[in-house]
């Protein structure tokens, strides 16, 4: 197999540079903000150091108890530390006494606690996975992969700064006290404020992800906003609760409220872990056709990666993308029922009747694997004419045919262009032309495909 497709280089150079430029500006702004905040706090001395320390400890604890496991969309779940930082930003009273910390102190405290809390994790990650020099990825690719890890703290700092900047000046000037008073209205105001903060964060996060990956903005934003409904809502509500509870009952409220929240965080973590394991198992199941010699090594993962990119291009998001990924991983599993392998596993060049038989067998297998039934439907109907298929099945069919026809790594007869040409000539019946065209766009932009094996 050629190594050329191991990492197909980024999308068009100009878009890539623009993306990196945006990311650099955002990161630079966050760094500058933190430096100014720390400098100013040190120069004037921290206000109410007891409260600052308690919240710093809370953020640290939250950070220490969460592992850097992030789910498929790259949301890292550290609800407790985020909620703690937001609560500090929204703290107006402590046990009935007005607080005096300003926006800059909020940023300094939360950034410092974040750094301390995540330090052991970074050290651990570095010592545990020594990278063999031969396997070291090129710098350009490393920028790709280190992105999410760097984006997390940047997003956190900017979000907290935003919330503090919205609340602290308003509250300290007494406007809130006069208009809303100390009552249920204040609780609602805080919630609205945090909802606004969450939206801003979603916009920022989607922009950063787009800059890093080049995926279209709309679906990314939809994903982020959707995540806001679940984890985001919990984090916002926790932030408000911590701020109000401390305002009423003083710092004693912190441990009382944090134990339940810690458990919320742990359950999120366990959920993320089992999801990750589940994905790995599905990938292993997909590899069974490769081990059995029915398909070429890495075929299923290549189809899945391309299908996911095409799905994003066509505006799919969230759960649908997961279904698409699973279906693409398992689309060839019906071949296991064949006594003799198809040459090179290329089902696209088989007679239609055989293709459909394999698809039906595959669907029957997938039905019993515990994945959602939609996945089995997609696998089952992958060989049907496109007008009878759901969109996900159309994508799987088109992408699989492209990978088969282009000779896996683009080295087959006619190569990628020839394969696209053949797909286009089949758009009357087999392939949907919109899917083929978005595949062409994805290919033109370049997509990182897993290497063979």
């Amino acid at each position: 197999m050629c190594g050329g497709c191991a990492v197909a280089w980024g999308w068009s150079e100009r878009a890539r540079l623009r993306g990196l430029g945006l990311a650099a500006v955002v990161r630079g702004a966050a760094l500058l903000l933190v430096l100014v905040a720390v400098g100013s706090t040190l120069r004037h001395g921290p206000q109410q150091p007891g409260i600052a320390l308690a919240f710093a400890a809370l953020i640290c604890t939250g950070e220490l108890t969460h592992r850097t496991g992030s789910d498929t969309a790259g949301h890292a779940h550290a609800p407790l530390s985020t909620a703690g930082a937001l609560a500090y930003a929204l703290l107006g009273h402590c046990a009935g006494i007005p607080t005096t910390h300003g926006v800059l102190q909020v940023v300094a405290v939360s950034a410092g606690a974040l750094a301390v809390g995540s330090a052991p994790q970074l050290l651990h990650a570095r010592t545990r996975t020594p990278i063999h020099p031969r396997n070291r990825t090129p710098l350009r690719h490393r920028l790709h992969t280190s992105g999410p890890r760097l984006d997390q703290p940047v997003r956190r700092v900017l979000t907290v700064a935003f919330a503090a900047a919205c609340f602290q000046p308003l509250y300290n000037s007494g406007v809130v006290e006069n208009r809303v008073g100390q009552g249920p209205g204040l609780a609602l105001l805080l919630l609205v404020l945090l909802a606004l903060t969450g939206l801003c964060e979603a916009v920022l996060a989607a922009a950063l992800t787009k800059a890093r990956t080049g995926h279209p903005y709309g679906p990314l934003l939809r994903d982020e906003v959707r995540a806001l409904r679940g984890v985001g809502a919990a984090v916002c509500a926790s932030g408000v609760v911590i701020a109000l509870a401390v305002a009423v009952a003083g710092l004693w409220a912190l441990p009382v409220i944090c134990v339940p929240l810690l458990l919320t965080q742990l359950s999120f973590r366990r959920y993320a872990e089992v999801r990750a394991t589940y994905r790995q198992t599905i990938a292993s199941l997909a590899r069974s056709t490769e081990i059995a010699g029915y398909t070429l090594p890495g075929h299923a993962r290549r189809v899945a990666a391309l299908a996911e990119a095409v799905g994003r291009e066509l505006g799919l998001s969230g759960e649908q993308l997961t279904l698409l990924e699973y279906a693409a991983l398992m689309h060839d599993i019906g071949q296991l029922s064949l006594v003799d392998p198809v040459p090179a596993g290329a089902t696209a060049s088989l007679p239609v009747a055989d293709q459909r038989r394999i698809a039906l067998l595959g669907g029957a297998v997938v039905r019993q694997t515990g994945v959602p039934t939609e996945v089995a439907d997609v696998v089952e109907r992958q060989a049907d004419p496109y007008r009878e298929q759901p969109l996900t099945a159309r994508i799987v069919r088109t992408v699989n045919a492209y990978v088969d026809l282009s000779g896996e790594c683009g080295g087959g007869p006619g190569g990628p262009l020839g394969a696209l040409e053949r797909l286009r000539s089949g758009t009357g019946h087999d392939y949907q032309s919109e899917v083929v065209e978005s595949l062409a766009r994805v290919l033109a932009r370049g997509v990182a495909l897993p290497p063979p094996g």
Binding site: V241, P260, T264, F268, Y278, T281, R287, V365
Partner: protein, 493 residues
């Protein structure tokens, strides 16, 4: 109601009567009805969300206790008990008879809430005169409230455990000791967490920010229960997928799965005997299930061949541990199980394959799986011979201990068999019944390449007469851990 034993009926009736007394005797003009109604509606809404079919996937798996516990801290005993009733009556019930279960749950919860609230009042956690300005919302109150609150949660949890145990004893006729064992301790941690959330709700409820602020405490708790339910769902799906890996082999070689499940079961039994903790036991069980997964890489024609194998074919079959290892290497949590898959055909005298490791250099899990594998191969019926009795298989294993098998593992198996016995039929399952008719995987029940190792008959092939259509006991067993009368409640540690 007819299906219930008389003792259980009496038990339910008693608790319902007690609950009725608890609620009715304490209600009077001083009861803060607005708070009662608000909390009752809130609790009912939380429980109803889990019932609504459209939203079922959004709800937590069990009862949502922070609301009744907030009532414990906020209201006098009778009013607090009343809060719990509508929600418990409306909540989701998994099994029949639904009516009795609902009634029981409501009565049980009402009594427990009453006990908790009574304890809180007695210890002066709340100002004794209801309606008077409460100490809960005061700035300095929190550390002093913690002790009465803890006692209240203990009382709540104790009464629930007591009543759960009572109904287990009367309805399921479980021994008193088994029924109560661990019931209280298991429930304590989740109830304490819910108790803290309830306390925070109560504090904010009494504060100037009022009930809306208190609601915000419940949102993260609700989400946490929801995520926990999702986790359970995903976990079950994952278990199924693990078996699907074996099923993929089953398409090529039909006997594999019944055998795999049984080896997994034997390995788990041995693990318990060897004193492994639960996590390692689970991994070892999965190692047993997956040990032959590499047969997927062996050509179907070789696997299904009738008659003796050529040396060349034998070599191909002996590659299956390496194929299996290659296949599961991406699954992170398997850890030691991967080594077991790679080395389960090693022999302690160093004459096994693929690497010819000897003695302690063979990973522990692999030594366990090797014994379990050989044991099941001997005790199950193959196309070419009948099953041997368990005693004969054990004798054979003991004869080979030290040469082919690790003596310690053989001893563990023997001890486990003495304790639990061996009932191979129950682990056969219904999987693949739909597939075998569809594919080319039909008609080879008699087939099976056989490379029996010297002496003990550790198998690599053969047709197995495991009856299909019997439900996988392992799958059922996982759910069956929950006592039927105890509703699945949010957090189980």
């Amino acid at each position: 109601m007819r299906a219930l034993p008389a003792g259980a009926r009496a038990c339910v009736l008693c608790v319902v009567l007690v609950a009725g007394l608890c609620v009715l005797t304490g209600l009077d003009r001083r009861t803060p009805w607005d708070a009662v109604v608000l909390l009752a509606v809130l609790y009912a809404a939380c429980e109803l969300l889990t019932r609504c079919r459209l939203l079922a996937h959004m709800g937590p798996a069990g009862a949502f206790f922070p609301v009744p516990l907030a009532a414990v801290f906020l209201l006098p005993p009778s009013a607090a008990a009343l809060v719990a009733v509508p929600g418990a009556l409306l909540g989701r019930v998994g099994r029949r008879p639904e009516g009795v279960r609902r009634l029981w749950r409501a009565a049980e919860l009402a009594v427990a809430v009453w006990a908790g609230s009574w304890m809180f009042t007695v210890l002066d956690g709340r100002s004794p005169a209801p309606g008077a300005p409460s100490g809960l919302g005061q700035a300095s109150a929190l550390p002093y409230v913690l002790l009465p609150a803890g006692a209240a949660v203990l009382a709540f949890c104790g009464v629930l455990a007591l009543l759960d145990g009572a109904i287990l004893v009367t309805a399921e006729r479980i021994g008193v000791r088994t029924a109560w064992r661990g019931l209280f301790l298991r429930a304590l941690a989740p109830h304490c967490v819910h108790g803290l959330a309830g306390l925070m709700t109560a504090v904010l409820w009494r504060s100037p920010y009022g009930p809306p602020a208190a609601l915000f405490v419940l949102l993260p708790m609700y989400l946490s229960c929801w995520v926990f339910a999702q986790y359970q769902r995903e976990h079950e799906a994952h278990q199924t997928t693990i078996r699907a890996l074996v099923q993929a082999v089953d398409l090529k070689d039909r006997y594999t799965r019944g055998h795999s499940e049984r080896v997994g079961r034997a390995a788990a039994m041995m693990a318990a005997e060897l004193g492994m903790d639960e996590e390692r036991r689970e991994v070892l069980r999965i190692a047993g299930i997956l040990h032959d997964v590499g047969k997927i890489g062996v050509p179907t024609r070789v696997l299904r061949k009738d008659g003796p194998l050529t040396p060349e074919e034998r070599r191909v079959i002996e590659l299956h541990p390496e194929y299996g290892h290659e296949m599961v290497r991406g699954i992170g949590f398997l850890g030691e199980a991967r080594a077991a898959i790679l080395h389960h055909h090693e022999r302690v005298d160093g004459r096994g394959y693929p690497y010819g490791l000897a003695g302690d250099r063979i990973p522990e899990f692999a030594r366990v799986v090797a014994v379990a594998d050989a044991f099941d191969a001997m005790t199950s019926t193959r196309s070419y011979r009948r099953a041997r009795p368990v005693a004969a298989a054990v004798a054979e294993l003991q004869k080979c201990a030290g040469a082919q098998f690790d003596g310690r593992m053989v001893a563990a198996l023997v001890a486990a068999l003495e304790k639990e016995g061996w009932n191979p039929v129950v682990t056969a399952d219904e999987w693949g019944a739909g597939i075998t008719g569809a594919g080319a995987g039909v008609g080879s029940a008699d087939g099976g390449a056989e490379t029996e190792s010297a002496g003990a008959g550790a198998e690599v092939g053969g047709g197995d007469a495991a009856p299909r259509g019997v439900r996988a006991s392992l799958l059922v067993g996982q759910r069956g851990n929950v006592p039927p009368w105890v509703g699945r409640r949010g957090w189980r540690p």
